[in-house]
């Protein structure tokens, strides 16, 4: 009997199956790759890089604010710092990193092999480095970067004292516009994938909550971004081509820009927070070992938030000379948002109630995030109230509230998601010890940074100033120490990510004993997920302790994982 020689190819020796998240063959992360799992990691890695940039800008600002006079940087430089800090954190950190999670999680969670339009997906990703470079380049042009705040209100934002065509504000608008195009292309892709590519048997109400919230968030992108784009185009024309859409001296209306800006940029906060609500809803049942409380209501509440988010934007303009009737209407709609978000918070608390809590790093970050979110929700209701807002609008109270949402809730949720799904998509376990150090430093740092801001704001400290009255000194010293602590907290985090990815323990397919289609795949999942063998879903998600299988033939899928 003759033996057939086994074809030998040294290139296939290291990775017999191309596995997107594995650390070998890292060069593919620098190519135009159409695999959603490669794109997801590309998004997340680059977004974390920009988190460091935005964090560095924040720490320079807090270094400036640790003493009352403007002594570290020039006040005009300070204007550029806060403008770029806000823009980098929103457009280069949070939006992209959440798009990264959409790419990683949506296809496996619904049993799809990839996104609906893989090439469009890669194109949308590669716009991200482009607008990242455009925005960073604005530090190098004469006159420095945009300095009119991340709102870019005209007529301040349409000042062009040097008279150059390429100026910081021009590059800012260009970057925001490319980011908008990228986000719309992404939203088309995510929505089509969720609507059309679910596994057999996965009806709408068998879909994981993360997919609900991602669909809701992307719906807001589709509805809101075009409006921001229209406003940005008009702003660009005013800045560069001498029109007067927003210039009162030419018959224009500066308030119109504020309407356009906030029509998108208020819902934009929900674009970021909705997927994080999805993370919380995925993570709590796993580590509390209980089904998600009120699944249907939590799912529908996502779209309640979408609807309400589109009719609240004027609450950012209570002090912009808005007519009194508008203030009343938008105060009421804004407060109504507390209903669907409150429903979600109570559902999470009820999920935790009498659960057998497993305090992993992911769970700690999720619980910390909800804790902070409740606080931010309360200050949000305060700010929605016109008589309060008239006094604390444009003070540090708003800054404190906003950062408690953006950092202490959304970024906590992002961290929780990283600790929860890292093992799934890289095939390596993160070190829990370093993770807990990261959590403690981040939690303490966040409270120290953002709580004193509320106090300073209630005392009347205005935002966006490089120097301030010495009576606010204590609050600012505390906040600055908190900011530096948050900077220190990045060290164990990045150390953990890099060292675990390179030489961490091999992850089993389902390290957290979680229920969900993505946990029926090996870690990391192969390029096309289930390929031809897509399981048929026979029950709803989060069946913890209920004892019924999620998919038909579940034993076969589980046995296959053990073999691998």
């Amino acid at each position: 009997m003759t033996t057939t020689p086994i074809p030998f190819d040294p290139r296939t020796l290291r990775a017999p199956h191309p596995v997107p998240g594995a650390p070998d063959n890292w060069r593919r992360f620098f190519t135009f790759n159409t695999d959603a799992k490669v794109i997801g990691i590309q998004y997340i890695a680059l977004a974390l890089l920009f988190l460091l940039v935005g964090g560095l800008l924040a720490m320079i600002m807090r270094g400036e604010l640790i003493t009352p006079p403007a002594d570290l940087v020039d006040p005009s430089v300070y204007n550029g710092l806060y403008t770029m800090h806000g823009t980098v954190m929103l457009f280069l950190f949070l939006f992209p990193i959440l798009n990264g999670f959409n790419n990683l999680l949506i296809p496996p969670m619904i049993g799809a092999p990839d996104m609906a339009f893989p090439r469009l997906n890669a194109l949308a990703f590669w716009m991200f480095p482009v607008f990242g470079v455009v925005l960073m380049a604005s530090f190098l042009v004469p006159g420095g970067p945009a300095s009119s705040g991340w709102w870019a209100y005209p007529p301040l934002s349409t000042q062009n004292p040097l008279g150059l065509l390429i100026n910081g504000q021009f590059l800012w608008i260009l970057a925001v516009a490319i980011s908008g195009v990228s986000s719309i292309l992404g939203a088309v892709n995510f929505c089509t994938t969720i609507i059309r590519m679910r596994a057999p048997g996965m009806g709408w109400f068998r879909m994981p909550i993360f997919c609900w919230t991602a669909l809701a968030a992307q719906t807001i992108q589709l509805a809101g971004l075009p409006v921001l784009t229209a406003g940005a185009v008009m702003l660009l024309f005013d800045l560069s081509f001498g029109t007067s859409f927003f210039q009162p001296e030419g018959g224009g209306d500066p308030m119109l820009y504020q309407h356009f800006f906030w029509f998108y940029s208020h819902p934009a906060v929900y674009v970021m927070v909705l997927p994080v609500f999805g993370f919380f809803s995925e993570i709590f049942p796993v580590y509390a070992r209980k089904p998600l409380f009120g699944y249907h209501v939590v799912a529908i509440a996502s779209f309640g938030i979408v609807f309400l988010s589109l009719i609240v934007w004027v609450h950012h303009m209570f002090t912009s000379g808005t007519p009194q009737w508008m203030r009343h209407v938008f105060m009421v709609t804004t407060m109504l948002i507390a209903v669907p978000t409150g429903i979600k918070v109570f559902a999470w608390l009820a999920t935790l109630w009498r659960g057998k809590l497993w305090l992993t790093t992911a769970m700690l970050f999720a619980m910390g995030g909800v804790f902070n979110f409740i606080f931010a929700g309360i200050t949000g209701i305060m700010l929605a109230t016109v008589p309060v807002d008239v006094h604390v609008g444009n003070t540090y109270f708003v800054v404190g509230h906003f950062h408690t949402v953006i950092f202490s809730t959304i970024t906590f949720g992002v961290y929780a998601a990283i600790y929860h799904w890292f093992a799934k998509f890289t095939g390596r376990m993160l070190y829990e010890g370093l993770g807990k150090v990261h959590f403690v430093l981040t939690f303490v740092g966040a409270q120290l940074n953002f709580l004193p801001m509320h106090w300073a704001g209630l005392m009347g400290m205005p935002r966006r100033v490089a120097s301030y009255d010495p009576e606010f000194a204590l609050a600012n010293v505390l906040a600055s120490l908190g900011a530096f602590l948050l900077g220190v907290a990045m060290i164990p985090f990045l150390l953990n990510l890099v060292s675990s990815w390179v030489r961490g323990a091999r992850a089993p397919a389902n390290p957290w004993q979680a229920i969900g289609l993505e946990w029926l795949l090996p870690s990391p999942p192969p390029a096309e997920n289930f390929e031809h063998d897509v399981p048929t879903v026979i029950s709803g998600p989060y069946g913890y302790g209920l004892g019924h299988p999620l998919v038909a033939d579940q034993e076969r899928y589980e046995a296959r994982l053990k073999e691998g």
């Binding site: 159409t34 619904i110 049993g111 799809a112 092999p113 990839d114 996104m115 609906a116 339009f117 893989p118 090439r119 469009l120 194109l123 719309i184 292309l185 939203a187 088309v188 892709n189 929505c191 089509t192 994938t193 609507i195 059309r196 590519m197 679910r198 596994a199 057999p200 996965m202 589709l222 509805a223 971004l225 075009p226 409006v227 784009t229 229209a230 406003g231 185009v233 008009m234 024309f237 081509f241 001498g242 029109t243 007067s244 859409f245 030419g250 018959g251 224009g252 209306d253 119109l256 356009f260 029509f263 096309e528 390929e531 031809h532 897509v534």
Partner: protein, 221 residues
Amino acid sequence: MADSLFSTPAALDPTAGPQGSGAAGSPEQGPGHGSGEHAHGGYNLTGFVIFLASESLIFAALFAAYIVLKGSAPLWLPAGVEGLEVREPLINTIVLVSSSGVAWLAERALHRRQLVRFRLWWLLTMAMGTWFVVGQAREWLGLPFGLGDGVFGACFYLLTGFHGLHVITGVLLMALMLWRSFRPGNYDGGEAGVTSVGLFWHFVDVIWIVLFALLYLWQGR
């Protein structure tokens, strides 16, 4: 753009024809992987409709800006400008709007596999679109005001220019579809490309009707 990006690479997708687009999913199979086929293409029409819905909101925002500015601006028409001439643009409008019907005839011909007839109607649609763009350009050249002449001038050029870009895009997409119709077996995987471009064309026409009403018919204040 619509066709090459909104599609799965043919090499990865054995079910797709050379156009890269399967029939846009049959409803009876429900979402997803129908009869176990290995396809992640064929969602082109869904994606394109979502894109158009989003795109329409840019126009909605621009219309809203026009209405608000027209209602509030202290000075509307630039000095020396009485209003816009309606006759020529009206002829242009009739040509553009009726081209939607011609595009529909082309699509119907394609459904019946009458390829030559499809190409003729499709070419006529393109010609009517080009007529519109040329007419628009001639109007622009003859106007006594520019982009910088007050809010009216800015609004007029921004709105007609942005719409004109869409008309040009539509004509270019139709040219692409026409070129592809000569490739053998082009419609084996369905006609999602032509259907999408047809939808885009109807969309551009409907936007123009609103735009024409706002700019030319509603001239008083």
